[in-house]
Every structure is written in C-alpha cells, then in structure tokens.
Amino acid sequence: MTYVCLSIPPSPTAAAPAAELAPRLLELVPRVRVGEAGALLWADARGLPARPAAEEILARAREAGHKEARVALADVPIAAEAAARYGVPQTTIALIEIPAGGSRDFLAGLPLIVLRPEPSLHHLLDGAGLELCGELSGLDLAAVEIRFGAEGVALWRLARADDRRRVFLPVPPPLPTASLEWTDYTLRDPSQLLFIVNRLAGNVCASLRTRGEGARALVLMLELADGTVVERRLRPTRPNANPRTWTRLLQRDLDRVRLSDAITAVRLGVEAVAPSQAVQGDLLDRGFGTAQSAEEALARAADDGVPVVAPEVSRHPLLRRRTRWLEQPPSLVWARPQILPDDTLPQLALHLRHQPESIEVETTDRRGYQVPRCYRGRDGRHELVSASGPDCLSGGQWEDAPYAWEMYCCVRRDGEIVLLARDALRQQWELAGEWR
C-alpha cells in the first residue's frame, strides 16, 4: 500500500484546514482520512500512479491557499508522516518520495523527535545519548526492552519503519445486487415479473451465502416505462439468505403493489446484512439438532403474520383485559424453559371467546340476582344444571369506559361448562367462554 501524507501548517484563517481540503482530494484518490489536529491528511494511493497523485494533491492544497503544504509518499505510514511533517533536513522540497523499502534508511537520519515519543521517554533516550532514529533502531530488542520498557520497544519498532497502525481499514465488499433490464420490449405480465424477481432473489441469496451473511433488508426497484421508479423495501423477521423466505416476501409484496405503467427494469439489492450466526448447544439437548429448522419455520410464520406470542398478565379484574400478548423472536426456540410441576397436571382451563356470543337467557331470582336457568345461543337451547356466582366485576370509571359485569360459571345438562356474563349496564347476556 502506498501512503500519501499531506502536512498543512497551521493557518490563522482555517480552523481545520485538512478537513476542509479532504472532499476536494476525494476527486483524486478513493479514500482520504484526516489525521491528528486537523493538520495532516492521509490519502490512499494504492493501485494509482503514486507520484502524479501526490503532485495533484499538492497542487490542490496550494490552490486552496496552503502555500507551505508539504506532501510525502511512502510504503510505511511513519516514514510518510515524518517526511511530510518535518521534511528533509537542509532542503525545502515540497514533495518527498521515499522509494519502496527505503523507509528505514530514510528515518535513520532523522532525529528521534519525528517519532513523537513521550517526553519522559525522550528524556531517557536523550540521557542515554540516543538522538537519531538510526541509533535507536541499531540497538538490540532485548536491550531496548530492559532499559526503556514497552514504550521503548514501540518506539524502536517505529524507528525501524515497523509501523503497525492501520491508517485505512479494509474496504468491505459491496452488498450483493442483481438486476435485469430490457430495451426492446416492456413487461406487463405479473407471472413473468414474479419469475424474474424469484431468479434475482436466488442470485442475491446465493451471493449472501458465500459471504456467510444474511440480509436484514432488501430493496426491490421497478423502473417503469413512464420513467418512474417504484421502490419497495422488505424486512424479514430475522436476517437470512434463504431464497424461499425472500421469494415469499417478494411475492406477497408484489401482490399489493399497483404499477402505473409497464416495467422496463428490475433491480434487487441488499440494503443491510448481518453475519450468519451459529449457536453453541448441548449434545444432550434433544431439541438442539432441530432448533435451527424450528427457528427458520417460526421466522417464516412470523413473516406471514403469525408470530410467536407470550402473555403478559396484569391484575386487571376483567379477564379479557388482563392479558397483553407480546411478540417473541423466533430465536426463542433455543431457550430451554423451566417447567413448573403444576403445568404437568391436567386442569380444565377457561377459554374466552374472541368475539363473545349474544344469547337469550331465562333466569330465576336468587338473593336479588337474576341467575341463568337456561340459555339459547347459535347452537340451540341449553338447560343449566348449575350456575355458580355471580362474580361481580365493576370499574373503569377512571379508564376509557366504565363496566359492570356479573359472571356465572354454569354447567349445562350435557356436562359442558360455560361462562355466562351479564352486562349490568346494558342489561345484556353473552356467552363469554367455556372450560375445556
């Protein structure tokens, strides 16, 4: 890698001259980074003709009014930095090129201060009679470590042009995309569009799998003959590279979209990715082997609008308002829940009807309450052999709406057990649920 380092002396007019110059340098090199104190500018000249690039950078800096700017290029950052910052002794050259492999020799003649040591260490080195980088780099590592410690070793490495910092991080590969466009005709058939989108999704997913990643979001762009672009953004429940999942999501989304004209191009691109995860499990866990497929199936169900839910139970007097259902992530399958002893004993549980059924009730008077004796619902007339209650529940005056219910646990002649509720405010009966 070739580093180009531009040093800009402090200016009274510009607070951060390097930061102001950086956008203009991006026209010359692919990556630019502002160094410390805003007076240094790094440019990545990898793969470029380095000297012409450095000359251009210097010219741009001078155009911007930085007449004292100095630029250096080297294959080691510390050499480029030292050259740009301090120049070559006894000269006024504005562009310094250090040949490949010559960084150590270049540094050898420079004073130790170019390596910017800590003041305490610098005093120590000075006391030992070490003034130049070459004098330090000529010492033995063990001797440096014993006398100057870890900081001394780090400086010794720099003096030998062994600079391990990463000025520019590796460039992440571009996110997978796939596209198809037509010039001779336009597309109007939905089934053909679906076929093309499925193929594109297959290509994108294959590319994701080779990278070991899953897409968190895909963007589908449809270019229409009238020049408009329809953009659809899809997000699954969990990041994945499964073409089946994406195909289903795309198909469902395309079912909803209305296009104003025929299609001339389709583009499918990944917007965000997440690394594929592997969970460490227990060999003795019987469910571990199938957890991955269970999670994927739950994610597909959730994408289809059927998520896993868990109850959050409050202390609300009304059963119907007591539970709040919270969506759970599909990764829940990896957890091993604690089973309570009571949960393994069968017990008739109350099931509340999602939509309570209005019923006609014949009642009898008992201690001031109208207790149900029989009722007529959608499935006919039912005699009651017992009606225990009422459990009177009222409240809501300080909430959205007041309520007052009388609940009766009733046993029918056929043995079924039902929950009948009387709305005391509206004088109406309903079949609220049943035990089963």
Partner: protein, 229 residues
C-alpha cells in the same frame, strides 16, 4: 393346531412384514398422562401422523399437558390458537403459542411448522380443517415427522381419533356456605381413542381452573361488589 393358530401362521406367511397393532413401528410423543399413554396404541400421539381430537370437555386440558410434556422431554411443541381463545392466566411455560389472525393463516402456519421437523407436537385449536386442508396437513406432518393434533370434527386421514365427553353424574362439587349454587371442583371425562384396529377408553378426573383474582377475599363467597342495584 387350533384354527386361530393356523390363521396366525397363514397371516405370518402371507404378510411377513406385518406387525400386530400393539407393536406399531412408528414412535410416539407421550402425553404425560399415564392413563392416556396407555389408552393410545403407540403410547402417545403418533409422530409423522395426523391425530384428531373432537372438540369437547377435557380436550384442550389434556393436550396442553401433552404440549408441556414434549418440552419437558427436551423437544418442542406449539399451540396454534386459531380462535384466539387462550387466556394468559395459567398458560404454561414451555409450549410456544401462536395466535394467527385468521383461519387461513392458522392452517398455513401449522403446515409450515409441521413440515420443518423442528417440533415434536403441534396442536391446532379452533380452525376447522376441510378435506384438502387435512391432506395438506397430513403431508406436512409426514414430511417433518411431527405429531400433529387437530381439535377438529372431521377425522379423515387421521391415524388416531380421540373423543372426550363429560360424565356429568360423576362431577365433584364444593359445597357453598351461603346456600348458593355450589362451585364445581372436579369433572369426570370419558376419553375414547380409535385407530386402525384399535378402540379403547378411559375415564379421567380433571380439576377446574378458577379465576383467583377476585374482589372478595374469601374464595368461598361470591363477590358482591358490582354494579349498584
């Protein structure tokens, strides 16, 4: 040689791979209720097969325990609450709960989960499955090796058909101290299992869940704080 022994010998020679009904080759998901495991031909709900339980008293209670038992044994179970009737109070830890928005979603999700092979037991409650749905679900259960139980009246394609009905005469009541109608404490349920060449029944006692969150401090007393009269 007796005629029965001769018949057995003839069957063994004509169908050498056949097994008696009591020695089914497919494995099962135990229910966690000893009486039920003894009642069912394979000792539980058959894996990779469809089983139907006619909706009735005791069905959901016993299936809920079976779902818990599957989790307890290290596997996974799902309860698809198609009619959204499950309440949070008393819902056990372990089985995963799905509340689909409609019947079609319930059937699709059930088939998807059954096909994945990640679940030992799936219970579909509240979605009436027609003939075509049953075919699809049966195939999905077979592909995934899942024991799929439908709370459904149509029993076509079912390897196991279960029916439960109350025995009203054996209900246990808790006497009330205030002279009102007594509270029901325990019910008796007769469970009948049918499979190919198999018919058995048992009677089980099931306690009743009561809402403990009451306004009255004494559980034996009915709440009297309600609408003014």
């Amino acid at each position: 040689m007796s005629r029965a022994a001769a018949a057995r010998q003839l069957l063994a020679s004509r169908f050498p791979d056949a097994l008696p009904q009591a020695q089914q080759s497919w494995s099962a998901v135990p229910t966690g209720v000893a009486e039920l495991d003894r009642l069912f031909p394979a000792g539980g709900f058959p894996r990779g097969r469809l089983a139907t339980w006619t909706p009735g008293l005791g069905a959901a209670a016993l299936l809920r325990v079976a779902a818990v038992q599957a989790v307890r044994s290290g596997e996974r179970s799902v309860w698809v609450d198609a009619d959204r009737s499950v309440i949070g109070d008393g819902w056990p830890a372990g089985p995963l709960l799905l509340r689909p928005p409609d019947r079609a979603g319930a059937l699709r999700a059930t088939a998807e989960l059954a096909r994945s092979g990640g679940f030992a037991l799936i219970v579909l409650d509240g979605a009436t499955a027609e003939q075509t749905d049953l075919v699809r679900l049966s195939r999905a259960a077979h592909e995934g090796g899942t024991a799929l139980v439908l709370l459904n009246r149509a029993t076509a394609l079912s390897a196991l058909r279960v029916h439960s009905r109350p025995v009203l005469s054996d209900y246990a009541w808790r006497p009330s101290r205030v002279g009102d109608a007594a509270d029901l404490e325990t019910v008796r349920v007769r469970v009948e299992a049918r499979a190919s060449g198999w018919l058995a029944h048992t009677v089980l006692s099931l306690p009743l869940w009561h809402d403990d969150l009451r306004l009255s401090l004494d559980p034996a007393l009915p709440d009297r704080r309600g609408a003014g009269r």
